[in-house]
Symmetry: C2
């Protein structure tokens, strides 16, 4: 593993509290690789041999059943993914592929589990991380079951707007195709949904989003901290 990749990982919530010695153990066993776009890193059902960390680029988590595919999440630097499978020593429940050229750290699950058993601080960080992941999927489920696709889109745009530090013009972070799948709809339906948000002051041209009437959009979207907040 390259020396200049180490600090980025060290700063992750997951690793920042652990003892230097154990961190070194983990890093020694790890390796980093740069992948081109559209490369499959993980296939659902496979044993979870590695904990992955995206350092640059982005990775899509997706699932397939009976010839249907759906996008579950997009992982952006710097964060780990499929921690639960690593800890449980179970099969991956999701597949992962790069969406662009990406650097990914691979930490052998065996080492992660071993150090998890030894370093209490690391164990606590794992718990926090898992609790966050769990709560974020619960929010996804609420989003899916309680809202229409138009409402999901509206809320997604509000969240993106907040992530863009409140800018009223910002870029979509993922392509529409993927966004549609993530939101649980077809690309055609997304296209139409975007058009039907125009009366609410939303205009999307290519990847550029412009929101001119935040109030109207919020009235439609009715965002809730119990569904839409990253933090809680």
């Amino acid at each position: 593993m390259r020396a200049d990749d180490v600090p980025e990982i060290r700063e992750l919530d997951l690793f920042s509290g652990m003892s230097e010695a154990y961190f070194q153990d983990l890093v020694r066993a790890a390796y980093v690789q740069t992948f081109p776009p559209q490369v499959d890193l993980i296939t659902e059902g496979d044993p979870a041999d590695f904990l992955h960390v995206v350092i640059s680029g982005s990775v899509e988590l997706y699932c397939i059943w009976n010839r249907h595919e759906t996008s579950m999440a997009t992982v952006r630097p710097v964060s780990s993914f499929i921690l639960a499978a690593t800890i449980k020593d179970g099969p991956y429940l999701m597949s992962a592929r790069t969406t662009e050229k990406s650097r990914v750290v691979l930490l052998p699950s065996l080492d992660v589990r071993e150090i998890f058993d030894k370093d209490h601080n690391f164990a606590r960080a794992v718990v926090r991380e898992l609790a966050n992941c769990y709560r974020s999927v619960v929010k996804d489920t609420k989003n899916l079951k309680l809202r229409s696709s138009l409402e999901r889109l509206a809320n997604y745009l509000i969240r993106s707007h907040l992530r863009a530090e409140g800018a009223h013009v910002f870029e979509l972070a993922i392509e529409k195709r993927r966004l549609a799948s993530f939101l649980g709809m077809t690309p055609e339906n997304l296209s139409r949904a975007i058009k039907s948000l125009r009366p609410y002051g939303v205009h999307i041209d290519g990847t550029q989003v412009t929101i001119t009437d935040m109030e109207a959009l919020q009235t439609l979207a009715k965002p809730s901290p119990l569904i839409d907040d990253y933090a809680t």
Copy 2:
């Protein structure tokens, strides 16, 4: 807390590995209560003051947004619920109500977090539990996004059949109303879905389910270990 409730809790995966001293600390601070049916135990958004454990009866986890309500899960004895909120010291993301007369243990979140910091075995159990919860919600999401309501029902029935130790006649564990909401459909649609499973050897009379052609049902349902297994 009554003495004869203690052993049941002690045997939970979550507590079985922890030191006796810490377990006693936890139990001392806990209290048990019996609730009638339809009592709200938890309201989403409230601070997570207690970790709950159902000892008898059953508890429904549900969510509300914008006047819509959806059933997220039914918790049966003996299991804990809303562990993630307790650990994170965050607000509940789900509400909980008894569906029948139920005994529930309430463990102050503060104590749980304190002992979590002290007892490594307990911390590891918490991690395992959270990982299980997380993976189970991921499966729910896959179920919702990748399957039609008919397919969800078919798979639910197969899972129930397995839980009933392979019996071809068994009882629905929850009322149809709740089942419909859990499966993400309306009661009317569930009624019709049940009828359209008749050609697949499924007959439901009241709460009694009879499956006569498992093969046909499986061909329709296409169950997958990565969506339907409890264990993985």
